[in-house]
């Protein structure tokens, strides 16, 4: 398998929004923001206090494993809601063939039991293709550690994160490492 870059997605996102909406005031704001900013997929934010080293483990963290990324209890899946892309021909940070990673994502803060660190995980949906038919018995997950409601969208796992893709059709969800939670 080889890779295709997902560069410039944010730019495409904004352009698509620009085409679709008639709300000029908003657009000009977005346009301004872009001029000042390098083009890169939107990164999620950390939630303050999520990674206090001495807090007790959640049930998910107690049971998490690091061997099989195509099961719901894989350590990175602590806040995933969706179908694991690894069950659809993709991988933890790889969209299945023919789908596109979303430039936007929701975020979880998950404990890696191997190194004891908390990592920020971007749950980027893979989009532009109808819902994946997963092969595997433990591919549809709904984990909720520190999942917040939609009025805190970047920490919400219910939203279809396909904004700015060629179509908003949801295919599956990845769980890419963004960095260590600070």
């Amino acid at each position: 398998m080889s890779e295709r870059s997902s560069d410039n997605m944010c730019e495409r996102f904004v352009r698509k929004v620009a085409r679709r909406t008639s709300r000029r005031s908003l657009l000009s704001k977005l346009g301004t923001a872009l001029v000042a900013a390098p083009i890169f997929p939107l990164l999620p934010v950390s939630r303050a206090g999520a990674a206090t080293p001495d807090r007790p483990l959640t049930d998910f963290e107690r049971n998490a494993q690091t061997e099989d990324p195509n099961r719901c209890d894989y350590w990175r899946h602590c806040a995933i809601d969706g179908i694991i892309c690894g069950c659809c021909g993709g991988g933890p940070h790889t969209c299945p063939p023919g789908s596109e990673p979303s430039p936007t994502a929701w975020v979880g803060t998950c404990l890696n039991p191997d190194d004891g660190r908390h990592y920020l995980i971007a749950y980027r949906d893979c989009c532009g293709k109808s819902v994946c038919t997963p092969t595997g018995s433990d591919c549809r997950c709904n984990e909720t550690d520190r999942d917040l409601p939609v009025y805190r969208p970047q920490s919400n796992n219910d939203i279809i994160w396909c904004f700015g893709n060629s179509s908003m059709a949801y295919h599956c969800s990845t769980a890419a490492i963004v960095g260590v939670a600070g």
């Binding site: 657009l27 939630r47 049930d59 109808s130 939609v150 949801y170």
Partner: protein, 416 residues
């Protein structure tokens, strides 16, 4: 070439006898179906037998009676699902019909459930092509599509009661959207057109009340309230910070009574913010459903076992009696989507626990019919099998009837 081979599919003539429901009249013509398969249909009188010949039937289409208070609208907009209609009094809990919806559509019903409104997104070629964002209007008796109102869009999300709602007089639809900014699209249902879009930066979801107002929940722990003026201008008011959005946020499927503007916002740990959303500053009192049950109010510990609310559509309000139904389970913090093992019945005004209803199978969703003789609907059961729908007496909690059927989702009832 064999010229006798005829075109395979032709609309050929038969007698109108059957159309006139004269079942035993012989057919005046035969039906040709390929030269080599010529055969005749004969509805000739049978030789006399003891039982009469069953009459020929004409194909027709069912139309529903007007919805009573026990009509059920189950909504599951995934994988070709949509709205399935049931009657709560039907012992068989059998589908009355269904209305398709796109994946992640949103739904709303007027109080008399005469229409079904669906906010939908279509691409002309399934997952690609030209995009249409529409509010589909169905007649809830014929289940025919009546119109498609263009809208700017709606949020694609696991369905929530508070994604979309109607003004108290059923004249406006409020549709929540996240892009390009967090906003609410207001549709004038009589004019079948967009009235306005209201930005609600930092807030999300709509909880309509009164003729031209809706509440919304904000990421900084406040409750907002938007009121439209007669020219579709709008103003927004906010409460002080009423909850901790990082650690104990208000659940999305909280409830505002459309008529009275009484809001009941339930948090992850089981606090209810009782917020009257009338004129003036927004404030209210916070009480704990566990304390109402004589227990300690739980905290946010990830290893702090307590009775906690959880599920999907995990809360329901019977408006006339002021009873709140909440799905509860024993669990730690961050188990807010776990299925409930009990339904707690609370007095919304006295802040008292009235009843605990144990469930045989844990369920993620609950709804209650309005008016007299309320029925309690429990659904979204755990497990691999059919989701099921259980109908209980909303007063006693007793199981009246139920049936397994495939599905997950939200249930809407008339009168809300």
């Amino acid at each position: 070439m064999r010229e006798t081979r005829s075109i395979m599919l032709r609309c050929l003539a038969v007698s109108k006898a059957i159309a006139r429901r004269k079942p035993s009249a012989p057919l005046a013509r035969t039906i040709l179906f390929g030269a080599s398969a010529l055969a005749s249909v004969s509805v000739a009188a049978q030789e006399a037998e003891s039982t009469p010949v069953l009459p020929a039937e004409r194909s027709d289409v069912a139309v529903l009676s007007a919805a009573g208070p026990h009509r059920i609208f189950n909504f599951s907009p995934f994988g070709g699902g949509g709205v399935i209609l049931f009657e709560g009094d039907d012992p068989a809990i059998k589908s009355l019909g269904n209305v398709p919806a796109t994946d992640n559509a949103a739904v709303a019903l007027p109080r008399d459930a005469s229409k079904i409104y669906l906010a939908e997104t279509y691409w002309s070629h399934g997952n690609r092509g030209e995009r249409s964002e529409i509010l589909s209007v169905y007649d809830a008796q014929t289940l025919d599509l009546e119109s498609e109102i263009p809208i700017p869009g709606h949020l694609h999300v696991v369905p929530k009661m508070s994604q979309m709602g109607l003004s108290d007089d059923d004249s406006l639809a409020y549709i929540y959207a996240l892009v390009p900014s967090s906003s609410v699209h207001v549709v004038d249902l009589a004019k079948e057109s967009l009235a306005t879009t209201i930005e609600i930066p930092g807030c999300a979801l709509v909880y309509p009340y009164g003729p031209r107002s809706f509440a919304t929940v904000c990421g900084d722990g406040t409750i907002g309230s938007v009121t439209l003026d007669d020219d579709n201008g709008s103003s927004i008011r906010f409460s002080e910070r009423m909850f901790d959005p990082d650690n104990d946020p208000v659940l999305e499927n909280s409830i505002v009574d459309r008529s009275t503007g009484e809001g009941f916002f339930l948090t992850y740990t089981g606090k209810i913010l009782s917020v009257p959303l009338g004129e003036g500053p927004i404030s209210g009192e916070t009480w704990s459903i566990q304390e109402a049950a004589g227990m300690e109010a739980p905290g946010t510990g990830v290893q702090e076992l307590a009775w906690r609310p959880g599920g999907n559509q995990l809360m329901a309000l019977h408006r006339d009696t002021g009873r709140i139904y909440v799905l509860m389970h024993p669990g730690n913090h961050w188990t807010h989507k776990v299925a409930g093992t009990e339904i707690w019945v609370l007095d919304a005004h006295e802040h008292k626990l009235l009843r605990r209803i144990p469930l045989d199978t844990p369920a993620t969703s609950v709804a209650v019919s309005q008016g007299e003789d309320p029925l309690l609907y429990v659904f979204g059961f755990e497990g691999d099998g059919p989701g099921g729908l259980e109908v209980r007496d909303a007063t006693t909690g007793e199981v009246l009837r139920g049936r397994g059927w495939p599905g997950f989702g939200n249930v809407f009832v008339p009168g809300n």
